[in-house]
């Protein structure tokens, strides 16, 4: 019995090795035609069997610490393309974003490994989650002309070719948040943030705006984890800023806002997109958050009255998806990739190089109201390319996503005039 089990085990392992280890194939794989990721065969789940298929890769976090971001983002993206396909696809093609979906477990090495697995099979990367992660494959995607849409709002992407970033970066967003606070009479500001591309990016933006407005600025770095926020709360109580820019996860944000409020702190909090999740309202910190917190974003709210949001809500309702910012951003990013694909088809050059060229020539993308003003200008230099608009949301029980617009999209004077020379997070 034991030996049988062992033999079966060994046979399975051997079989799997044989199955995974296909032979070396030096001619262009990924379909019958010469362009990787473009086939005249229909997509696996094609609506119209007459159309060809464009395969986009997705490398995201489905099981790691950011699966709360990666999973809804991927679903939103999937829903967007399902609608595009149902509406007749793009040119003679439909688009598949599911066949080459890989989990990076939020590990840069895994990211690079799974990228190597799919890179010969895809036309472009519809989603690449994580800054360090995308940087790990950046040289390769640029060398191989694989157009990449990073699921990362760092301020570094505006300096890269072959990358189509979406939305306002954390740095410009924090500048706008501080400018808005100054309009509200704030005299001092603090930034509580994670280390790295996300938190440092927002912190540097807040610091730049604080200097421009002559505010007292306090930098309070903090680590992930609810229990790790005690020191940040203490530092806040000591600095007593009028406004706090929070760039952490929702759990940490709740611990900080709740902890500070419990000790009599009355300053306002403005958080970056990832600091928000409606579930925090159920936590003991809920009332404090409802009173003190606002979310900075460039993608509107779930209930926004635009054709894009409308279509997204319909698709989400059909899929029983609860309102989620990342689902919304996944959907919104689709408009950019769609515009690039359409431009490449219009140029009659649906190849990797053609797609990169078409994307680099875009001067604007119509996101049916879902993309912030100034989106999709990849033809310009970094300062023309960067998106600078931000809106502020306040907690609102009456809406489905528990937030409603408090300050309509605006660009503050600091962000408006700022000259982006290098990624903000590198200037910490």
């Amino acid at each position: 019995m034991k030996t049988t089990a062992r033999r079966v085990g060994i046979a399975l392992t051997a079989a799997s090795l044989v199955l995974t280890g296909c032979g070396r194939d030096d001619d262009e794989p990924g379909g019958t035609e010469s362009v990787p990721g473009v086939t005249s065969e229909p997509c696996p789940e094609a609506v119209d069997q007459e159309k060809g298929c464009i395969y986009l890769g997705t490398i995201t976090d489905l099981t790691g610490v950011f699966k709360g971001v990666g999973v809804p983002l991927t679903e939103g993206q999937k829903a967007f393309w399902a609608k595009v396909n149902a509406d007749g696809g793009i040119g003679d093609y439909e688009v598949d974003v599911t066949k080459f979906t890989k989990d990076n477990q939020y590990n840069p090495d895994t990211h690079a490994t799974v990228f190597a697995e799919i890179k010969d099979e895809i036309l472009a990367l519809g989603q690449s989650l994580g800054t360090a992660h995308t940087n790990t494959i950046l040289e390769q995607v640029q060398d191989d002309s694989i157009l990449t849409l990073p699921a990362s709002l760092g301020s570094n992407w505006i300096f890269e070719d072959g990358v189509i970033e979406v939305g306002t970066n954390y740095c410009a967003e924090a500048m706008n948040s501080v400018d808005a606070a100054v309009d509200g009479g704030a005299k001092s500001v603090a930034a509580v943030h994670f280390p790295g591309d996300y938190g440092d990016d927002a912190m540097v933006g807040a610091r730049i705006a604080a200097e421009a407005n002559d505010l007292k600025f306090t930098d309070i770095p903090t680590a992930p984890g609810q229990e790790a926020q005690g020191a940040a709360v203490t530092a806040l109580l000591k600095a007593k800023p009028d406004v706090v820019i929070v760039s952490t996860g929702p759990i940490e944000m709740a611990a900080i806002v709740g902890g500070a409020a419990a000790q009599g702190f009355t300053g306002k909090f403005i958080g970056s997109i990832p600091s928000w999740n409606a579930a925090v309202l159920e936590s003991p910190a809920g009332p404090a958050i409802a009173g003190l917190y606002r979310q900075a974003t460039s993608f509107g709210t779930w209930d926004s009255d635009t054709p894009g949001h409308e279509a997204m809500r319909e698709a989400a309702a059909a899929a029983k998806q609860v309102p989620n910012d990342w689902y919304m951003i996944g959907w919104a990013g689709g408009y950019i990739m769609k515009a690039a694909l359409e431009a490449a088809i219009e140029d009659d050059n649906l190849t990797r190089e053609g797609l990169v060229e078409a994307a680099a020539a875009l001067t604007g993308v119509d996101g049916e109201g879902m993309l912030p003003e100034g989106s999709g200008n990849y033809a310009g230099d970094p300062n023309e390319r960067v998106v600078r608009a931000t809106s502020l949301n306040k907690v609102d029980d009456k809406t489905s996503s528990k937030v409603s617009v408090d300050t309509e999209a605006f660009t503050g004077p600091t962000a408006e005039g700022y000259d982006f020379q290098e990624p903000c997070y590198l200037q910490k």
Binding site: T101, A132, F194
Partner: protein, 378 residues
């Protein structure tokens, strides 16, 4: 028959009776039996030929496996041979990775860099820097053993994570990272496609490095030092009584092991070209321990097999669920392939330790015994 093969090579061996040793020298030799000699040669030749037949993405995995194998051999020297449990291997790998990145880094770049591009130089320097750290830690090992040593070396990982994360001129900072050292050999940048693809070139380079370091480790293990390691492992008090200098050999074990870790670290990220400080975490240490246990403690070939399996495991577990129909490929349905992939990883490790405690090396031993006594094996 014996006249066909030069006598020098045979060294008193009797053809057809590979296990019959006729001299002490033969018992102690690098390849104690002829089949072993030819077997190893055949494996190396096959391995060297693989890049001509396999796909690049598989070569990349195998290449990473070779580098991991160098690190695993290092851990096996200190843990398998000398019996000193170390959970701090990731720290030494990190020291190696950063030493190499700094030496080979762009002097005008944002991060520390000295612009020394000659690969062998920064590989050895990475080993030396890690070895120095190992030597500093080693005295602890003479005071502690077993679980206590494990916990102390565990502390190293956390100290390392802090330093690597905070020293941004060195590492680029958490979640940002910096570029890894690019292996350039005599003007040939191995990370660029040329007549051969970068995956092929790196594979051959890593294979060569592995062969060199495996031979050195095997030599060490069968020498006076190796026997001293084994004596310390089996009972350090008894070893001390026999005249083995415990402090000296524990120091040696840690230093050499760290050297191997440093070398592995310098090359581990060459294929990807970019790495960030949170990668040198406890998980990495645990993976090296898993390689040693799955491969087989106190065997060099086992370390290599273990490292190859761990390197290929994500690929194997990634493909398996696709063969089973009822597992969803959508991340919002449960169970989905991504979850199963993670679980399988754990299940395989547990299954190995239960069914094959001697590791992959144990399987090989059994296969060997089976064929040796064929057709009368039972």
């Amino acid at each position: 028959m014996s006249s066909v093969i030069p006598r020098r090579l045979l060294g008193g061996r009797v053809i057809g009776r590979p296990s019959l040793y006729t001299s002490y020298k033969q018992d102690m030799s690098f390849f104690d039996t002829l089949p072993k000699l030819f077997g190893v040669l055949a494996i190396v030749l096959v391995a060297a030929y693989l890049p001509m037949t396999l796909e690049d993405n598989l070569l990349k995995l195998l290449g990473t496996g070779f580098v991991l194998a160098v690190g695993a051999i290092g851990l096996n020297l200190v843990t398998g041979y000398a019996g000193q449990v170390s959970l701090g291997h990731a720290f030494f790998v990190g020291v190696g990775a950063y030493t190499a990145a700094v030496l080979a880094g762009d002097p005008d770049g944002r991060y520390l860099g000295l612009g020394i591009t000659f690969a062998p130089l920064w590989i050895l320097a990475a080993g030396v820097a890690a070895a120095v750290c190992g030597a500093v830690v080693a005295p602890l090992a003479t005071r502690l053993r077993g679980l206590y040593l494990a916990i102390v070396t565990l502390g190293l990982v956390f100290i390392g994570e802090y330093f690597f994360g905070e020293w941004t001129e060195l590492s680029g900072g958490a979640n940002v990272g910096r570029d890894a050292a690019e292996p350039v050999l005599f003007g040939n940048d191995l990370t660029r496609d040329g007549a051969y693809t970068s995956e092929q070139k790196l594979y051959w380079f890593f294979l060569a490095v592995l062969v060199i370091f495996a031979v050195i480790a095997r030599n060490l293990a069968r020498s006076r030092v190796g026997r001293a390691f084994a004596a310390v492992r089996d009972r350090d008090i008894a070893a001390g009584v026999m005249g083995v200098n415990l402090a000296k050999y524990k120091l040696t074990a840690f230093t050499i092991s760290s050297f191997y870790a440093g070398v592995a670290g310098s090359l581990l990220f060459a294929a990807n070209g970019h790495f960030s400080p949170e990668q040198f975490n406890l998980l990495m240490s645990v993976q090296f321990i898993a390689m040693v246990l799955i491969g087989g403690a106190a065997t060099i070939s086992g370390s290599i097999m273990g490292a190859m399996l761990i390197a290929l495991l994500p690929r194997i577990t990634g493909e398996l669920p696709g063969l089973v129909g009822f597992i969803s490929s959508s991340a919002i349905e449960h169970p989905n392939i991504f979850e199963v992939e993670q679980i399988l990883y754990g299940v395989l490790i547990i299954a190995f330790l239960i069914f094959e405690p001697r590791g992959l090396f144990g399987i090989w031993l059994r296969v060997r015994t089976y064929w040796k006594s064929f057709p009368f094996s039972y």
